[in-house]
Structure formats: structure tokens, C-alpha cells
């Protein structure tokens, strides 16, 4: 008999609110957080808008916020989301439980590079008329102008390390970066660590921001972002015929995964059960999903098999739904291949229509929305879905939220580079 894994706490910092209730209320109301980029001057970039976290105050979540002044927002968002999740789970007090049996698995991105110093260093070390820089001089310039403390905190092990340090989670750790699949993969693999008995509790999820000059530049160069600059709030339009790319967001989500008997023994409030996980690779292309959804199909089918469920048992699908041409068509094909006739009956929605794409943090925040919907008997809409795409002909819950009672739900996350993850969550029954 394998160990069962339940969810006993959730927390989120998102463009649509700095708590799970605020996030879910915004989702049900169909509100969007997309607007002009304010983190830097992006007015001349091909894309000038994003879904930003506003008015974030770390001091509301940790006792010593100044300690994290030089950290990246990935660490700062993660700390706040973790504090919420551990508080809800009743595990915030470090004297609670065996902390060596509690670990961290974070899907997180790179820290933020110091764009201004890199750019001025490179330019200052160029001879007039040269196309390349003098590396010796540029490196020396950076050494004199960068802030060492800030740079150290941008290391990729720091966000997960700070969670373990701040909240005294001394058990197993991991941290992955599989682009847009990262936090879902973190949750699936963390659940496996609980199933195998390596840990009893895993704080799992993701944190990310790429709303930086180099992040927006990189995605713009790949022409992956929507360029609907005249109408940012309608730019994220998953499954709509006129979609033209994704809208970048930022934020963090963390959930507490706990072994069932451990949760019962301490009388924890069980929010849902994590019943299924599937993980595959497309082995197709660097940037494009397999057009037939081959890897996505196997991830969904594996997650259902892992949950010991049939397709018809699934009452809601939270789609990856990025609003790119390729993803939404391939995902729709994949859902049809796995669910057959049921594909046309099951409500499907894309949280990204309102939230934007939180990249490494997308999967966990969408799973949190799914679990909240499972408990509330409601599913958020896909907003901006106005012009049907003949290739996307399923029920995407257009425009307005819907009351739906369901016992089991599937959440998809597909990463740039071909990593596909599907998670199944179920209403908890003894």
C-alpha cells in the first residue's frame, strides 16, 4: 500500500492578489492584472505590458524583512507564499513536528542580472567602431561596479535555501528549472518523496519573475510574447482565434504536501489529495510543442493511471493554455486524444487569461486555483475568448465563471524545451 499524499496548506503571491482567497476571488470575477510594465522603462520594446505583482510587502509575512533586501524577488515572493502555506497547515512554528522530516522542493528561475552594469561595462570597454567588447576591461568594470551581496543572492540555490533556513525545513531538498513546467514538476516529484518515505512533509511549488530587461528582451527575440500593446488587458486570450502569444507574469505559489497519516495524527485540515502525477518529454523541438500533443497526451494519461481514475472521472481541467498559437492547438488535440467524447463535456479553463504566465511559478498557482475551485464548487473562466478557433472547439468556460461540482481535476503544465507535467487532485475522502 503506497503512502497517500494530501495538501494541508497553500499560499500565493500573484498579480491578482497576495493570498489564496484574494487570488481566487479575482479569478472568479474575471479580473485581469495585465497592464503597462512598470519595473523598468519598456515603452520601446516590442511588448510593453505584463502582469506584475504590485504593492508587495514582505514585512507582512516575515519578522525580519530587511534581511532579504538584497535578495531577488523570486526569493522574496517565495518566502511570503511559504509563510501563508505553512501557517494554514499549522506548521509555521519550528517546534511543530520533526523538522528533519520536512523538506523543500522549489521550481524557480534565475535571479535578476544587473542589466545596467552589464550593459555599461560592455559598452565602456568597446573601442570606437568595434563590434565587440574588450573582455578584460569589461570584466574589471563589472568587478568594480557590481554589488557582491546582491549578486550572491541571485544564485539559483538561494530561493530554496532561504525557505529551508527561514522556516526550519531541514529535510530533503531539490530545486528544478524546467521553464513553464517547473513548479508542477516540483510538486509531482515532491509528492513522490513523500510516497517513498524520504519525507513526511514537503513544501513544494515555485517562484519566478522574468519581467526584467533581459527577460522581456529574450522572449521578444523569440517572438513568444503577445504584442497587443494597444490593448494589454485583452492580450492573453487562450484558445481564441486571434491569440498572438503569451503575456508574461510573475509571482510565487507554495503548497504543503503531507503524508496522510501524519496529517491525520496532528489533526490537520486536509484541503485535497494529490492523487496523480505524469511527467514526459516531447523530444521534439527546443521551442515548439509536438503539434499532435504526443508528450502531453502521455503525461495526462500517466497522471490518470497514477490516480487510478478514468478520463470520465475528471470534472475540470485547468489547461496550460498559454495563448500561443502552437500550445493551445496542441493541448486541445491532446485533451481530445486522452478524454475522447468526455473532452467536449468537461469544463476547461486557462488561469493565464487573467494572470498571465508566471513561468516557473505558473503550475503551482494554477493548481492552487484548481484546488480552491474543487472546494468551492466553482471554476474560473477563460476571459478574452471571443472569436472561436476551429482548432480549439472544447468548453473553455468563456468569459464568466461557472458553478461546477467535481471530485477530481487535472492541471496541465508544459515547459519550453518539451517537459510535460500533468497533476491530478481529488476531493479528500477518508
Amino acid at each position: 500500500m503506497r503512502r497517500r499524499v494530501v495538501i494541508t496548506g497553500m499560499g500565493a503571491i500573484t498579480p491578482l492578489g497576495h493570498s489564496v482567497p484574494a487570488l481566487f476571488a479575482s479569478q472568479l470575477a474575471g479580473r485581469t492584472a495585465v497592464g503597462p510594465i512598470t519595473h523598468f522603462d519598456a515603452r520601446s520594446f516590442p511588448t510593453t505590458f505584463a502582469s506584475e505583482v504590485r504593492a508587495f510587502d514582505l514585512g507582512a509575512f516575515v519578522p525580519d524583512p530587511r534581511r532579504f533586501d538584497a535578495h531577488g524577488v523570486n526569493t522574496r515572493f517565495a518566502l511570503a507564499a511559504a509563510q501563508q502555506a505553512l501557517t494554514e497547515a499549522g506548521l509555521l512554528d519550528p517546534n511543530t513536528g520533526d523538522r528533519a522530516r520536512m523538506g523543500v522542493y522549489l521550481g524557480s528561475g534565475e535571479g535578476k542580472e544587473n542589466f545596467e552594469v552589464m550593459t555599461t561595462a560592455t559598452a565602456a570597454a568597446m573601442e570606437p567602431g568595434a563590434a565587440t567588447t574588450n573582455v578584460r576591461a569589461a570584466t574589471g568594470f563589472m568587478f568594480r561596479h557590481l554589488n557582491g551581496e546582491y549578486e550572491e543572492y541571485q544564485e539559483m540555490y538561494v530561493p530554496s535555501g532561504e525557505l529551508a533556513t527561514e522556516f526550519v525545513l531541514e529535510g530533503p531538498f531539490a530545486s528544478c528549472q524546467t521553464a513553464c513546467a517547473a513548479s508542477s514538476q516540483a510538486i509531482g516529484e515532491a509528492a513522490e518523496m513523500v510516497r517513498t518515505g524520504e519525507a513526511d512533509v514537503m513544501l513544494a511549488g515555485g517562484s519566478h519573475s522574468m519581467i526584467t530587461p533581459l527577460g522581456i528582451s529574450g522572449f521578444n527575440l523569440l517572438t513568444a510574447l503577445s504584442q497587443r500593446n494597444e490593448s494589454p488587458q485583452t492580450a492573453s486570450r487562450p484558445f481564441d482565434l486571434t491569440r498572438d502569444g503569451f503575456v508574461i507574469g510573475e509571482g510565487a505559489g507554495l503548497i504543503v504536501l503531507e503524508e496522510l497519516e501524519s496529517a491525520k495524527a496532528r489533526g490537520a485540515n486536509i484541503l485535497a489529495e494529490l492523487t496523480g502525477y505524469g511527467s514526459t518529454a516531447d523530444a521534439y523541438r527546443m521551442t515548439d510543442p509536438d503539434p499532435q500533443g504526443k508528450g502531453a497526451i502521455r503525461a495526462m494519461a500517466d497522471a490518470l493511471r497514477d490516480a487510478r481514475l478514468n478520463p470520465a472521472d475528471i470534472g475540470y481541467i485547468n489547461a496550460h493554455g498559454t495563448s500561443t498559437k502552437a500550445n493551445d492547438a496542441a493541448e486541445t488535440k491532446g485533451i481530445k486524444a486522452v478524454f475522447g467524447d468526455h473532452a467536449y463535456k468537461v469544463p476547461i479553463s486557462s488561469s493565464k487569461s487573467m494572470l498571465g504566465h508566471l513561468i516557473a511559478a505558473a503550475g503551482v498557482v494554477e493548481l492552487i486555483i484548481t484546488i480552491t475551485g474543487l472546494r468551492a464548487g466553482a471554476v474560473p473562466p477563460t476571459i478574452n475568448l471571443e472569436t472561436p478557433d476551429p482548432e480549439c472547439d472544447l468548453d473553455y468556460v468563456p468569459k464568466t465563471a461557472r458553478d461546477v461540482r467535481f471530485q477530481h481535476a487535472l492541471s496541465n503544465s508544459f515547459g519550453f524545451g518539451g517537459q510535460n507535467v500533468a497533476l491530478v487532485v481529488s476531493a479528500f475522502r477518508g
Binding site: 570584466t139 539559483m156 540555490y157 529551508a164 528544478c176 516529484e189 524520504e198 528582451s217 527575440l221 527546443m286
Partner: protein
């Protein structure tokens, strides 16, 4: 604690390193006591305090990459190139040509970090945005600068790209993940790959790591916040693990890639086994005090079902940093005392970061295979603050069947893996 009928073995190995870029050359250099630490050439670091490190000599991805994939090299930064070629070498060594395993039953676990951009990737854009080299005009960058940068720029540096290219090149459709928690990342990847095979989600996992971090930004950053050796005039003597005169580490690049395979699968196809993976554990030692690391090592021994007396040697991270070595030695000593020899292979080639744990593990895997443990370089004046018995000098015979590999980050994230000699 983790019990499963599925035994796990390492069957293939590929390496690109400062002391050799074939498995044989790598082993020969280990036996000979060669150092791969030299003056850095990939980046001119003359204006930095430390300008020595380990570089892969004569790395020629264009001649090494599968012909059909050569044009994709323009989408690969150095970290990605090293990882992809390393994967090719491991698959060749394992006898796993594309199509010899059901694609759905083979996956990949890589360890890598964000590869820092080469400054010249955007030199022209930088000049446009900052004609005076003092301030940045974002408007000019967005309007005129962006078009001077290759469209594939970001793909050259994303951490998951070595794994991604590996899946495409070898049609690996099983789970694919990339671990990023610093120096122990390779051991975390190995543990996760073991978990994947044990839950029967794959029969074979490529477990690899690569770092191409001798780039201007990276070496500059490390010089700011890592303790880097200033022994620029004596590169080979610079990294002095657990030695009283140690003054820091040096950075290095390379790749180490294994194939991890279910024993039943390896046997069925007649594969040569390098070593068995029998236990692993990870955990956090807050404040890098020592007992947390000891707890992790004991966890790995318990998972393997062995005691410290069964262990031939401990393969330490041994970076040559003042506080790092003392911390690591305290943790190891708490479990092993001075009874078990400690081997710190990083003294030979420098710190490969996310690729460090697997290339260091490789030294032990080869030691078990050949029955001899190479010595640690530059440990001549034992530091009382590091109460472990460091193995130095000529290779010593392997006397016991098990070895333990340890790694950690400066935030106290520790991992340990136990491997067993294959007989």
C-alpha cells in the same frame, strides 16, 4: 528506509574535464596526479583578484556533435554544448544508440545553472543603449538594440537546454528534469533519477551535469562573493582541501554524464556495469554547523543498509575554502571519525559548480572499478580544524565495497550518495 526490488546501476559514463575528455584520459590523469588548474584563457581575468581555474582543453563541439544536429550548435552556449556532448559520450559508452531503448522508457535528469551570457552576445546593443558607457537608455535598447541580438540568445543559456537537446538527440520521451540547487545538484538529480526508475516510470535515465562558467560575468561574480584562491602564480598548488594554508577555491568547467539503469534492464541487454547506486539522502544543515551534514550522511548509509565500517572512502567536496572545508570535515568526522580516508578530487580540476558533484562522484566510481583510490593534491599541512584523515599521495587499493559521495552549498544544503563496487 527506501526499499524496492529494483536495483540501480551506472552503466555508461562520459566526461569533458580540465584533466581529460575521455573516460580513459580522465582516469589516467587521476592516477598520475595531474592538475588541470591553469591560468584562465576563455575569459581574460587579468583585472580580477583570481585568474586561475580549470578549463576543458581543446573542446571542439563542431567535430564532436552528431552531424545531423550540427546546425543547432548556434542555439547552444558553452554549458549547453558541454552537456550535450557529454550526453553523447555517455550514451556511446553505455552502448545505448538511439532506438535501442523504448523511447518512453528512457528519460533525463540534468544539473545545470543559468549559463551567463557572453558579453559579446549583445555588445552592439549595449553600445546603442549606452554610448557613454555610464548610463543606459532603455528606449534605445528596445528600439534599435534588440535587433542586433541573435533571436536565439535566451535559448543559448537556459538551464534546461542540455536536457532538452539530449531528449531530442536520443529520442528520450520519459521524464526530463533539470536540478539547479548549486554544487549538490548532480546528486539531487541522481537521487531523483533513481526514484523515477524505482517507481517504474523509466528503465534508463541519463544523469548528467554541465557547467561552462568561465564567462566574464560568472568569474567576476565569483570573485566578489566566493573565497577564490589568490595563488595565481601556482595554479596547480592553488586548491588545498583541508590544508592549514588553504585560501579558497578556483572555478572550473566541464561535464560529467552517466546512464543510470535498472539492473534487470542492464542485465537483459548485456550492459557493462560500472557501479551500483545503493543509497542517497539530502537535508539542510542551517548555518553549516556539521551535525546536519552528519545526519544526511547517516541517512544515506541507512538507506544503503550499511554502517560507517563498510565504507572504503569518503569522496568529499573539499573546495579549499576556509569555512567550507571546516564545515564539511566536522560533518564527515561526526560519522566516520578519522578512521575512513577522505578523498577530495576537486583539488585536481577546480570547482565545476552544478557539475561538481557528478564529476567528483565519477572519480570514486572509477576508483571502485579499477580498485585504486587516487590521492588528494596539495594536502600537506593538515588543519586541526578539519579533523579528517585525508588520503594523499599514490593511489591506495580499494579495501571495502562501499564509498560515500558528499556535497553541499554555502547555505547548508547537503546531499550524500552511497555507491557499491560492482562484482
Amino acid at each position: 528506509m527506501v526499499t524496492s526490488p529494483r536495483r540501480l546501476v551506472l552503466t555508461g559514463f562520459g566526461v569533458l574535464s580540465p584533466i581529460g575528455s575521455t573516460a580513459d584520459a580522465f582516469w589516467d590523469a587521476l592516477v598520475a596526479g595531474t592538475s588541470g588548474v591553469r591560468t584562465l584563457t576563455l575569459t581574460d581575468c587579468a583585472e580580477l583578484p583570481s585568474w586561475i581555474g580549470g578549463e576543458v582543453q581543446g573542446f571542439a563541439p563542431r567535430t564532436l556533435i552528431e552531424k545531423s544536429y550540427r546546425k543547432t550548435l548556434n542555439a547552444m552556449g558553452r554549458t549547453v554544448e558541454l552537456g550535450v556532448i557529454g550526453t553523447q559520450l555517455a550514451m556511446q559508452n553505455a552502448g545505448l544508440a538511439k532506438g535501442t531503448v523504448n523511447p518512453q522508457r528512457i528519460g533525463v535528469e540534468f544539473a545545470s545553472l543559468m549559463g551567463s551570457t557572453d558579453l559579446n552576445d549583445f555588445a552592439e546593443a549595449a553600445k546603442i543603449a549606452s554610448p557613454d558607457g555610464k548610463t543606459v537608455n532603455y528606449e534605445a535598447w528596445g528600439r534599435d538594440g534588440l535587433s542586433k541580438i541573435t533571436p536565439l540568445w535566451m535559448l543559448r543559456h537556459l538551464p534546461n537546454m542540455p536536457a532538452c537537446h539530449g531528449t531530442i538527440l536520443f529520442d528520450m520521451q520519459g521524464p526530463s528534469n533539470t536540478q539547479i540547487p548549486g554544487d549538490p545538484a548532480g546528486l539531487i538529480a541522481l537521487a531523483e533519477a533513481a526514484r523515477v526508475i524505482r517507481r517504474d516510470a523509466a528503465d534508463v535515465m541519463v544523469v548528467g551535469a554541465s557547467e561552462g562558467r568561465i564567462s566574464p560575468i560568472t568569474v567576476c561574480r565569483y570573485n566578489m562573493y566566493m573565497e577564490m584562491s589568490r595563488r595565481n602564480d601556482d595554479p596547480a598548488g592553488a586548491v588545498r582541501p583541508f590544508d592549514r594554508t588553504r585560501d579558497g577555491t578556483v572555478t572550473a568547467e566541464g561535464a560529467a554524464v552517466f546512464t543510470l539503469e535498472a539492473l534487470d534492464h542492464a542485465r537483459a541487454r548485456g550492459a557493462t556495469v560500472l557501479a551500483e547506486v545503493v543509497g542517497y539522502a539530502s537535508g539542510v544543515d542551517r548555518g553549516c554547523k556539521g551535525p546536519g551534514l552528519a545526519r544526511v550522511i547517516r541517512g544515506a548509509l541507512a538507506a544503503a543498509g550499511i554502517t560507517p565500517a563498510d565504507v572504503d572512502h569518503v569522496n568529499a567536496h573539499g573546495t579549499g575554502t576556509t569555512t567550507g572545508d571546516a564545515f564539511e570535515a566536522r560533518g564527515i568526522a561526526e560519522v566516520f571519525g578519522r578512521d575512513t580516508p577522505v578523498f577530495a578530487p576537486l583539488s585536481r580540476f577546480g570547482n565545476l559548480g552544478a557539475a561538481s558533484a557528478l564529476i567528483e562522484l565519477a572519480c570514486t566510481v572509477l576508483a571502485l572499478k579499477y580498485g585504486a583510490v587516487p590521492g588528494t593534491l596539495n594536502h600537506t599541512d593538515p588543519d586541526p580544524a578539519c579533523p579528517v584523515a585525508v588520503h594523499t599521495g599514490a593511489p591506495r587499493p580499494v579495501a571495502k565495497p562501499y564509498a560515500v559521495k558528499v556535497s553541499y552549498t554555502t547555505m547548508g544544503q547537503c546531499a550524500a550518495v552511497v555507491v557499491r563496487r560492482w562484482e
